[in-house]
């Protein structure tokens, strides 16, 4: 086996520097155009009517009064979105989620939509639509939904794998991973800790609501301007749902005000297109914040049991986790992801994980930054912390003794190649935060986290301008600064300055298919394609220089942004700069460009470890984050400031979830807190500066050693904060968010028992 492929040590000129981001000025001056900042001539306002019931059969919808209202140009229901899925259940589920077909399956499920000349008219029209519902019993809790007596969320709900033929109907899928014999492993352990955990549902909380402008023409062509993480994927799904030809729908991604996975799925875009098709005019559809919370995809609520056995020396002998994730009314992959990641940080002889997707009457679960892994880590890392306490062992030392390294068998199967968890733990060990003394009511928590990366289909084009500057067109949406990172990569390869390269995101007519910016793939995949495209352009540049010099191309090399002739015969020629070659392009063969169309493979995984110091007010249960450290392996940081930004952003989202963020459902199955007042993401004053350390263990699968870094940072925080609070209070926390009422109740409960 060859799993230790070495990456060459490379000297970089641009990569690793921290220039000003290229989209920065537009964003801070308000010029950047987001989803709602685009307008088309004659556009209408689209609004969606949503179910007030968690579960109800739609007996009839009367739209006649709304249609008769002056200024209303189209009213649609599911009848206007016929089933073009051709038996594809996944596609049909998306269609059903965009517009309820027979049943409203959650509070906020779309049942009808209108397009009118202005918002007031559209709002009035919504009020004129009469929906006759037959309200059905609902279930919003994961554990309740698993009970065999629970109401069935989806009439077609069947388990993908049903070996016993007796799984409850709300189970969508069960996945199992692991190796060895866990019972034998527990039998030889010296200490076993077993606990159950619960995590409430959280939303990505992107600041920009979903928004789009859709225009469908009578000839079957269309345009969609939209805030999305993946305009190519949106194009395919929207075209399929509407029965359009994929290539006739042109989708342009706007600037994006955050996505974190929530903008990888279509929600209202097919509705806007259907409204436009019916009205014959462009339609702008912008969700309110309330709609974003009620009707787009939060992450799963979860319920988890963990059992870990260790030797007295702190070596894990056996580990088991049973993870139950809510997936909304449809199918999901969340149990699988939780089961794959739960023990991925540790080299364990006997391990078994079971992940279950549970159907509930809540919005369709969407991806949220390393989906499922944060709550799995919360459960596993909490149990490890308790084991460290019981063994009277430094919790960092416990991680060292079990950490995966090159050649370790992963808990989900394959053997790891070059990975950096041990290097991360070493960086933690030498960090000064560990030496800051703690006072009364203060505690320090540590936790590790893991996430995969994905590669996928990627295209880029590099065009050389007449003055020797370069435009790089990429197709992975820039969510976290990747345009600037790609300019650094192109500048590095071309040997010119960063500010001579401008990177733009191409629309779906400009480039071949690009997979969505998800799975920490944007910088990894697009940099790989960019390097290829620049290498191809350099080949062209060398040919052009050879023509200008009238020498064989083999005698031309590319160095430091210039063509240089080599060999005894021509070696004394002065170099030709990129600008000089570009200027001659019309007379040497025309425009100079390079392209790359690839499937990016060779992904490297990323491990992180976080340290959190807290102070808990024992009288109110309120937690203050005193200090917070993120250490993570980036492989190679193209633009270190953006890598740090990902570390800090992920940590902050995790801290918010750990402390306050949660969906609160009433007994009526309706969401109680669909707004930022009562869905509490952290504000700046809640947080200290998030300290970061970038560890670089290069990924041998990438020319520069890049690993995707975007998701791992949200994996450890729930556990790091929980471990810190547990140590500060002496009471083990098992339910996130650890909001003040929940912490105070836990403290009171511990006093009683």
């Amino acid at each position: 086996m060859n799993i230790n492929a070495k990456t060459q040590i490379q000297e970089f000129r641009s990569v690793g520097t921290r220039p000003v981001r290229q989209d920065g000025v537009d964003k801070v001056t308000g010029r950047a155009r987001y989803g709602a900042d685009y307008n088309m001539p004659g556009q209408l306002v689209g609004l969606v009517l949503r179910s007030p019931h968690a579960h109800a059969r739609i007996k009839s919808i009367d739209t006649s009064a709304a249609e008769a209202l002056k200024g209303v140009k189209a009213v649609i229901t599911a009848a206007d979105l016929p089933d073009h899925a051709d038996g594809d259940e996944g596609l049909l589920e998306i269609l059903d989620n965009c517009m309820a077909r027979t049943k409203a399956r959650y509070d906020g499920h779309a049942v009808a939509a209108v397009a009118a000349i202005d918002e007031a008219t559209a709002r009035k029209a919504l009020g004129l639509i009469r929906v006759d519902y037959e309200v059905l019993p609902h279930v919003t809790d994961v554990d309740e939904a698993l009970k065999s007596t629970a109401n069935v969320v989806h009439e077609h709900a069947t388990s993908r794998v049903d070996p016993e033929q007796n799984v409850p109907l709300n189970v969508h899928a069960t996945e199992e991973f692991g190796h060895g014999d866990i019972e034998a492993g527990f039998a030889k352990s010296d200490l076993i800790v077993e606990r159950s955990f619960k995590a409430e549902q959280s939303h990505q909380g992107y600041i920009e609501p979903h928004a789009c402008v859709a225009s469908v023409n009578a000839d079957g062509t269309g345009d969609l301007w939209v805030t999305t993480q993946g305009h190519f994927s949106y194009r395919i799904v929207c075209a399929q749902l509407l029965g359009m030809d994929v290539s006739k729908l042109r989708v342009t991604s706007s600037e994006i005000g955050g996505g974190f996975g929530g903008k990888t799925h279509v929600w209202a875009e097919p509705v806007a297109l259907a409204l436009s098709r019916k009205a014959g005019r462009p339609v702008k559809l912008t969700m309110s914040r309330e709609e974003v919370f009620r009707s787009t995809g939060p992450t799963s609520p979860a319920s988890i049991d963990v059992k870990i056995g260790v030797s007295n020396e702190g070596v894990i002998t056996s580990a088991y986790a049973h993870l139950r994730y809510g997936c909304g009314p449809y199918s999901g992959v969340w149990g699988m992801l939780g089961a794959m990641t739960a023990f991925a940080c540790y080299d364990i002889e006997n391990v078994k994980t079971i992940g279950i997707d549970v159907r509930i009457n809540r919005p369709k679960t969407a991806a949220y930054r390393a989906p499922s892994a944060p709550v799995a880590a919360f459960a596993v890392e909490s149990v490890l912390d308790e084991i460290a306490q019981k063994l009277d062992m430094d919790p960092l030392e416990l991680r060292f003794r079990n950490a995966v390294k090159n050649g370790s068998r992963s808990s989900y199967g394959p053997t790891f190649g070059t990975i950096g968890l041990v290097e991360v733990l070493e960086a933690v060990k030498s960090h000064p935060q560990l030496n800051v003394p703690l006072a009364a009511n203060q505690g320090r928590g540590i936790a590790c986290g893991y996430w995969f990366n994905i590669g996928g289909q990627t295209c880029t084009t590099l065009n050389i301008g007449v003055d020797g500057t370069a435009t790089l067109t990429i197709g992975t949406v820039d969510v976290g600064g990747s345009r600037s990172s790609m300019s650094l990569v192109a500048a590095e390869e071309l040997g010119i300055d960063y500010d001579k390269v401008k990177t733009v995101i191409g629309d779906t007519a400009t480039l071949g298919h690009n997979d969505t910016t998800e799975g920490s793939r944007g910088t990894f995949s697009s940099s790989m394609a960019t390097i290829n495209a620049v290498k191809q352009a350099i080949g062209v540049l060398r040919e052009r220089a050879a023509k200008m010099w009238e020498i064989p191309v083999d005698d031309v090399v590319w160095e430091k942004g210039c063509a240089r002739a080599v060999g005894e015969e021509h070696g004394n020629l002065p170099t030709l700069s990129l600008a000089e070659i570009a200027k001659e392009a019309p007379n040497t063969g025309g425009p100079i460009a390079g392209h790359s169309e690839i499937v990016a493979e060779g992904v490297g995984v990323s491990f992180g470890a976080h340290i959190c110091d807290v102070e808990v007010d024992p009288e109110t249960g309120a937690t203050k984050i005193l200090r917070y450290l993120v250490v993570q392996d980036a492989g190679r940081a193209i633009h270190p400031a953006y890598v740090e930004g990902q570390y800090q952003g992920g940590a902050v989202q995790g801290i918010g979830w750990a402390l306050n963020e949660e969906y609160v459902y009433g007994a009526d199955g309706r969401l109680q807190n669909a707004g930022f007042l009562d869905y509490r993401i952290p504000v700046c004053s809640d947080l200290p500066m998030i300290d970061t350390v970038i560890v670089e263990v290069p990924n041998p699968g990438h020319p520069y050693g890049v690993r995707g870094v975007g998701e791992t940072p949200i994996v450890p925080p729930l556990a790091a904060v929980a471990n810190a609070i547990s140590r500060a209070t002496g009471v083990r926390m098992t339910h996130v968010p650890m909001s003040p009422p929940r912490v105070l109740a836990a403290l009171e409960n511990a006093k009683v028992t």
């Binding site: 009288e619 306050n660 109680q672 007042l677 004053s685 003040p740 009422p741 109740a745």
Partner: protein, 287 residues
Amino acid sequence: MHYSRPNSVAEAVNLLGGNTGNAFILAGGSDLLVRMKGGFVEPSLIVDIKAIAELRQIRATDKGFWIGAAVTCAELGESEMLRAAWPGVVEAANLIGSKQVQGRCTIAGNLCNASPAADSVPALVAAGARVHIVGPNGSRVTAVEDVPLSPGKTSLAPGEMVAAIELDERPAHASDAYIRFIPRTEMDIAVASAGINLTLDADGTIKTARVALGAVAPTVLRVDEAAEALVGTKLETAALERLAETCSAAARPIDDKRGTIAYRKSVVGVLAKRTAELAYKRARANS
């Protein structure tokens, strides 16, 4: 919908009196505009009082201080004389919303919104503030705690509006404080809160006390029994415990998304203790 921006109180009263529909006063707009945007209210008339000069003033009077209904919370925070005399009222006003909201919102609006969780109201009740109300039948003065009746409902008659809120002069050895609990550090609404105003003897014995609690009942609660627990003490541990107990016992909160009954009853006692300690410390420093 009609929008008007009168220049005098008389003109405003006239507009309100002549309106037969759904009239709303616009001061800072930090509640009204949100409710309009959310589709919860559809005003037929909006009377913007920010152009009425006398409602934009903070004045020292022979009895104390006169705060016009259109004075923003940020302006209260900038008033040195109010900060010195009524630090608890000012700190309550400067907890509302965010910095941006404080630049618009008013304590009169906070009072008339009639939310049990309004931050400035417990502090005003503890301070014994009075409200000047004008209307079609002339003007009247009432205690702050008599304005809110229940969530969203006030005792103002049709056509009436608040013109000003009046606070007493501040004697020596006296001060006030307001503390609320929120899960975040700012931009939030009180889960429970306490406003306390104390007057001491020269030796530190509490002569008079007023205790008001927020977010633990349908309206802000004045708890006289809690105040009695403090009078005659020097805020010893036993007095503080008695204060906490009476406040927790007096609280009649609900279970909702912001907190449970048990949590609010427990925390409001903790807040009362902390607020009393802060007010006492300030009163001792005010010699």
